[in-house]
Symmetry: D2
Subunit: 258 residues, 4 copies
Amino acid sequence: SKYEYVKLFEQNITLLPNTWLVVRVDGHSFHRFTSEHDFAKPNDIRSLQLMNYAAQRCMQEMQDIVLAYGQSDEFSFVFRRSTNLYKRREAKITSTLCSLFTSNFIFHWKRFFADLELKYPPSFDARAVCYPTDQNLRDYMSWRQADCHINNLYNTAFWSLVQDTSNPRTEREAQAILKDTDSAAKNELLFTQYGINYNKLPEIFRKGSTLFRRLSEVAASTRDGTSEVKRTKNLVVVEHGDIIGDKFWQENPQILSI
Amino acid sequence: SKYEYVKLFEQNITLLPNTWLVVRVDGHSFHRFTSEHDFAKPNDIRSLQLMNYAAQRCMQEMQDIVLAYGQSDEFSFVFRRSTNLYKRREAKITSTLCSLFTSNFIFHWKRFFADLELKYPPSFDARAVCYPTDQNLRDYMSWRQADCHINNLYNTAFWSLVQDTSNPRTEREAQAILKDTDSAAKNELLFTQYGINYNKLPEIFRKGSTLFRRLSEVAASTRDGTSEVKRTKNLVVVEHGDIIGDKFWQENPQILSI
Amino acid sequence: SKYEYVKLFEQNITLLPNTWLVVRVDGHSFHRFTSEHDFAKPNDIRSLQLMNYAAQRCMQEMQDIVLAYGQSDEFSFVFRRSTNLYKRREAKITSTLCSLFTSNFIFHWKRFFADLELKYPPSFDARAVCYPTDQNLRDYMSWRQADCHINNLYNTAFWSLVQDTSNPRTEREAQAILKDTDSAAKNELLFTQYGINYNKLPEIFRKGSTLFRRLSEVAASTRDGTSEVKRTKNLVVVEHGDIIGDKFWQENPQILSI
Amino acid sequence: SKYEYVKLFEQNITLLPNTWLVVRVDGHSFHRFTSEHDFAKPNDIRSLQLMNYAAQRCMQEMQDIVLAYGQSDEFSFVFRRSTNLYKRREAKITSTLCSLFTSNFIFHWKRFFADLELKYPPSFDARAVCYPTDQNLRDYMSWRQADCHINNLYNTAFWSLVQDTSNPRTEREAQAILKDTDSAAKNELLFTQYGINYNKLPEIFRKGSTLFRRLSEVAASTRDGTSEVKRTKNLVVVEHGDIIGDKFWQENPQILSI
Ligand SMILES: Nc1nc2c(ncn2[C@H]2C[C@H](O)[C@@H](COP(=O)(O)OP(=O)(O)OP(=O)(O)O)O2)c(=O)[nH]1
Ligand SMILES: Nc1nc2c(ncn2[C@H]2C[C@H](O)[C@@H](COP(=O)(O)OP(=O)(O)OP(=O)(O)O)O2)c(=O)[nH]1
Ligand SMILES: Nc1nc2c(ncn2[C@H]2C[C@H](O)[C@@H](COP(=O)(O)OP(=O)(O)OP(=O)(O)O)O2)c(=O)[nH]1
Ligand SMILES: Nc1nc2c(ncn2[C@H]2C[C@H](O)[C@@H](COP(=O)(O)OP(=O)(O)OP(=O)(O)O)O2)c(=O)[nH]1
Ligand SMILES: O=P(O)(O)OP(=O)(O)OP(=O)(O)O
Ligand SMILES: O=P(O)(O)OP(=O)(O)OP(=O)(O)O
Ligand SMILES: O=P(O)(O)OP(=O)(O)OP(=O)(O)O
Ligand SMILES: O=P(O)(O)OP(=O)(O)OP(=O)(O)O
Ligand SMILES: [Mg+2]
Ligand SMILES: [Mg+2]
Ligand SMILES: [Mg+2]
Ligand SMILES: [Mg+2]
Ligand SMILES: [Mg+2]
Ligand SMILES: [Mg+2]
Ligand SMILES: [Mg+2]
Ligand SMILES: [Mg+2]
Ligand SMILES: [Mg+2]
Ligand SMILES: [Mg+2]
Ligand SMILES: [Mg+2]
Ligand SMILES: [Mg+2]
């Protein structure tokens, strides 16, 4: 029709070929969302597991995602450098993945929050970033995991002070106490005042969650169903270890070599 | 941390100031989604109403949306030209609105599909486009409504042929019959063979749905609750009329004048 | 060849259709260039005329330029909103015009600087900006002309103080004297100390130069060369008047109506 | 002033960090330019030397250019991946380099075309492209050199046929003769019909020109001027060898390692 010319106004930004594509999804106003849904503080394990589950579903849907890392209300997805998904169109990739993550988060909510109804529909934002080298990509991952560590240590100390039953502090007081303390001091405070050995807290809280594909043996039944056999499948696995050091990357060379 | 430099790789594309921003959201693989959920063909009224409801919620959340138009599995949202939402950052606007629409679509699913469970989580893509003039914007809206008309007339004829109980055609046959027919021929076929007066079909099918804000009188109770008063509120209303001609725009001058 | 894939890495940014395209060219390090070539201060008429001449040549080469405005070491070129030059590819338009302007500036140098050899090759930068409305475009033009006025008034006062033969000031002193003075004070200083009526200075210094096309009668000879006739031609004319007020635009409605 | 808001309409596209930046400059309508200036066909050595000289000057001005490659009417400049020139703003880099190259081309024209006046000011276009890996960059360079080879072999055969004094062909005939011939056939034709051993033609025609920096010993006089000493300086050198194979890159590891 004579109106079709308006389609030419679309910009169609594409992402530089042969770079790692990272899409980071982050909960929109999750300060409010977590508070209205009474999430445990500083970490609600149900929420982290739901996030992981939703991310896993995204990876099953989009085979070009080779790695994902989640913490707090965010998840980063890494597409292999050679991906040609949607011809690398920025808006298509970003919006579709953001929508898919949102959708799975809500769809599977009740699986992790059996007793808690969603009060209102949560949403997420997303952005795509290109990283030219493996080192840049690893630095990106390190950035997010370091952020997880810093925030979690702070939040653990903060909520310990505020939820201290014998000597509860206001949020303002807790903030003042922690202001200008370094990591050591926060560890110390947690240990001496609350008997918490920070390094013994669950890794999922301290290190976040890393999802990637690994060839794994799975049990399968033969076609006639009479006996069990082992098959290898490229499964998405979830870990909570360190991804800043070299070890993780050496043990999983398939991630960067794709 | 020493990793923070990676944030500098973000591009932060912004949308040209003083232009109408249109974000179009479109169902991802809704051919499959509608078929797996047995949507009525060619139009499932529940689906259209759910889409409208979700769009309305988006407009309530984002006050800078002045107009929205929906048909089939898509919705277009128009932000006022002067909007400074997220400093007009393309990815933030597109991803947030796409996510919010997705979220509301699922969250309110059961309100419109009382008897039908969602089988899997649906998703949407989204894109932002800038239109410099009112005329360009109106041509955009006309483009979508003309598309609605053309597709709906075709689909109505197509499914009439396929679902014809006395003489059912295969999809391939129906396609062949309709190939190269013009609008008049399709109208004729519908009327003579199926007694369908196309122009009498519900406007929501033929024209789609237009959402906009209008100062409306609403009943409210006084503070002490003893008596009723009228208040004017800027409500989001839904219409299904023509938006290609001038009439709609003349009757609602507030839309473009914001 | 197998290397051709590298062409796909080109981004091909395009400029939004139906907007005024402005390309502003600005002398690279002209502080140094004007000083090494002993330009008259604050304005060297030869330089301004060379700039205008080069700009005129650009307009003759690129018919889609409807307007140009120059002052100091810069020139802004306005392409009609409907231009499809290089399919509105940003880099092609910007680089080609920048190069063409540079080229003409050097090529015609001796026409205006008959006695002065170029000491080294000058260069320019350029950028493209889109303006959606006539008002935005006029505000852009006003911005540049206001900038011309402010700088020129300041520079005139500044160099009067520094070049004052009876009481020469250092550049630092002149700067200190002018710091925090408003327009009125600078006018006053020029008049009382140097007998300069600022408003009587040549318009080309105070208002810059505006180039645009106007249907003009030109003398032409008939084919057989025996007699003279008048023809109308769309000539590029140069003016130095105000372009902030409405008058210029009302007298030249052809500029914005193209 | 109240007009300054228009500055916000500038887009400021930046080029992805940590990628090789290539800016390719190409003569605008050099088909016409070379023909109006009667350039020797297919190669005018004066033109190639002027291009090289201009490129060298650009490299002296912009220290972040580590490599340049020229052939025909084009030159490609490679900026080191870590360059922060103009904060990697695309328009600033592209336009400035394009202008500088143009400027040097004209400024130094007479140095290479002593007897030939420029008839009109030539211009160039330019574009920037990012390459994430060394391999991509080398493929880019190979692409340009392969292009040089293919065009030059074709043009040499073409102009031999057209300029054949004993049996001159029209351009159309020459084109028809060469249509669908491979490299071997063109070599054969040149050798048997014109006694030209293509591989003995000057390397600058067949391979183009590669400019890069190399630590070189230069003669210098001591401060008191009494004696000569050797100093090492990072000079821009020009070569015409193969850059597709590994040899060039192995012999000049400094280029990619910067
Ligand atoms: N209580 C609780 N809060 C959480 C948990 N995970 C995330 N949050 C909260 C803490 C922060 O307020 C918020 C995440 O921080 P953000 O910087 O993303 O801020 P927010 O989402 O509010 O704003 P945004 O829309 O992203 O700019 O979510 C959790 O497991 N438990
Ligand atoms: N039965 C039925 N189908 C519908 C209804 N509304 C939309 N659809 C279907 C018809 C089309 O197959 C599809 C929309 O067309 P699209 O061009 O958006 O294709 P689709 O979403 O499959 O692919 P996409 O991911 O958008 O490229 O949704 C409805 O009310 N009833
Ligand atoms: N003496 C003299 N100087 C002039 C004349 N026109 C322009 N200039 C000088 C004054 C300024 O130093 C300079 C223009 O200012 P810019 O802001 O463009 O600075 P410049 O070109 O040095 O740096 P840039 O590369 O543009 O960032 O050119 C003139 O007619 N006479
Ligand atoms: N006779 C002669 N012609 C040359 C020489 N170097 C380049 N040329 C001509 C051959 C081609 O016609 C032209 C370069 O081809 P291009 O593809 O760049 O085309 P052109 O510059 O005409 O158009 P463009 O503005 O780049 O699209 O320049 C030379 O040394 N001698
Ligand atoms: O949202 P923040 O504050 O954690 O930081 P950001 O995500 O980089 O900021 P934005 O969402 O505005 O891009
Ligand atoms: O999806 P289509 O085919 O209706 O058309 P489009 O939305 O313009 O195509 P794309 O989704 O690939 O941008
Ligand atoms: O160059 P300036 O300082 O006059 O201002 P600008 O041109 O807006 O700055 P830039 O050249 O860095 O875009
Ligand atoms: O100019 P061409 O035809 O050699 O090829 P190109 O430079 O890739 O084309 P364009 O100048 O239009 O980008
Ligand atoms: Mg954020
Ligand atoms: Mg958040
Ligand atoms: Mg967050
Ligand atoms: Mg689509
Ligand atoms: Mg769809
Ligand atoms: Mg659709
Ligand atoms: Mg500048
Ligand atoms: Mg300047
Ligand atoms: Mg300037
Ligand atoms: Mg070209
Ligand atoms: Mg060329
Ligand atoms: Mg060329």
